[in-house]
């Protein structure tokens, strides 16, 4: 079985990559999980996982004249299969974002859960493609009006491609008293449940500096526990892995912009 989930936010700074990796590690207790840094314009999964010097990354796979194999860009770390994205501006410029389809199709054939760490802003074809390719989205929010506004916007973008919301994560929560009311109100507007509210955590920043996912660096923190609850609440849907791979392959492949 496989389900491809885009982890999206609509704005930066909400802890999207931290959340993607934390959900991935929590889900990895039960499933084979592959995490792809699909935020090709502002890749940072590599910095969260000690893969900043990785030889082959998603960027190489997206080059039209690439002869790299998908498996060359997959790194087994922290119980996950990780596909980092490089940070070369030249490679970003030359990348053909539509090749992400074929990469995702190949990865989908060989995993249970595919998490696509998606771009924060929705300003380009490559930023939107993960929302198009995924089965569902997980929307990461901070409890502020700008974040909620942008999260609603991401949800509408995804829905316009038939990609529904699997759930919402409230991250970097400081006001414990108010968040339950806010989460309850927000559920009226989002397609999925509130998976968890994650407290603001110095450990998340320290983990990033150490180049490790939060659940590896500080597994006993309240934030780590909250991510595990979120993974438990994420009601993964069985999919036929061949059908998913076919869907990616057979999708209309547009011309690059």
């Amino acid at each position: 079985m496989v389900e491809a989930l885009a982890v999206a936010s609509g704005k930066g700074g909400v802890g999207k990559t931290t959340s993607t990796l934390a959900l991935g590690m929590a889900l990895a207790d039960e499933y084979d999980v592959t995490v792809v840094d699909a935020d090709t314009g502002m890749a940072n999964l590599c910095f969260h996982t000690g893969l900043a010097d990785a030889d082959t990354t998603l960027q190489d796979l997206l080059l039209a004249d690439s002869n790299a194999a998908v498996e060359d860009a997959v790194y087994d770390r922290f119980g996950l299969s990780l596909v980092p994205c490089g940070t070369s501006l030249a490679a970003f410029r030359d990348a053909d974002p539509t090749r992400l389809r074929a990469v995702v199709a190949e990865l989908a054939a060989d995993t249970d859960v595919l998490l696509l760490d998606s771009a924060a802003a929705l300003g380009s074809q490559s930023a939107v493609l993960p929302l198009v390719l995924a089965d569902r989205t997980v929307v990461v929010l901070q409890p502020t009006i700008p974040s909620l506004s942008d999260g609603l916007k991401v949800q509408e973008y995804a829905r316009s491609y038939g990609t529904e919301t699997a759930g919402v994560l409230f991250n970097r929560v400081q006001d414990d008293a108010a968040i339950d009311r806010v989460a309850e109100q927000a559920e009226r507007y989002f397609g999925g449940p509130t998976l968890a509210t994650i407290p603001e955590s110095d450990a998340a920043r320290a983990a990033r500096r150490a180049g490790e996912p939060l659940l590896a660096y500080a597994p006993d923190t309240a934030a780590a526990a909250a991510y595990r609850r979120a993974a438990d609440r994420l009601d993964l849907q069985d999919g036929d892995e061949d059908a998913v791979a076919d869907r990616f392959r057979s999708a209309v492949i547009p011309e690059p912009p």
Binding site: K11, G13, L122, S124, Q125, V128, L129, V132, Q142, P143, T144, I145, P146, S147, L148, S149, D150, L152, K153, Q155, E156, Y157, R159, S160, Y161, G162, D175, A177, A178, R181, V182, Q185, A186, R188, Y189, A251, V252, P254, E255, P257
Partner: protein, 202 residues
Amino acid sequence: MTGPGAAELEIPRGRLVRSRVGVASAFEAAFSRELTGYARIEPDSLLADGEPGVVTFAEGVPRAAYCERAAGRGERRVDSHEPGSGDQPIKSDSRGVDALATLAGPGPCSVELYELPADALAAVHDAPEFSVPPGAPAEQLADDPALADRARERAPDDAHDGDASALESFLEDEERIAAIQQEARAEAEQRAAEWGLDGELE
């Protein structure tokens, strides 16, 4: 409008000290120059009806907020209020955290900063209905949590710490959220065509 807000918010016109586009840079400037006065905020977004609001400051720390528009455009009972009518207040404006919710959201704003003597703001700063938590404007309007933290640190101990939040007020405004969703859907469909993804729209 002769002053920064309606008649119920009695603030004299101050001395213009900075005219900027963008809430974040205006709030940062107000904080760093320890402004006592107000920011006049005029949303440029189509969603916002173009009606202005005001955030007041004491030594750079936000204290009060007012917007001439009520949250939930459809709920507004009249188009303009008549100060001094003596009847129940007419909900054609929003105050305190409700005003922040009305002003927040997508779209750029034009902001001007005005300076005033502290005593000119005393009445407004003493009125709980206009009061806002010191970090809320930076967080909710400027999307700048670091500035919000600095404002909280500089705020006096007796600063607003009420339960009501601008975010809850925002989430109660179903009409406004429906407008955000409709605008996003239209934008998504338009961009899909630009990016050659329109064949995959549902």
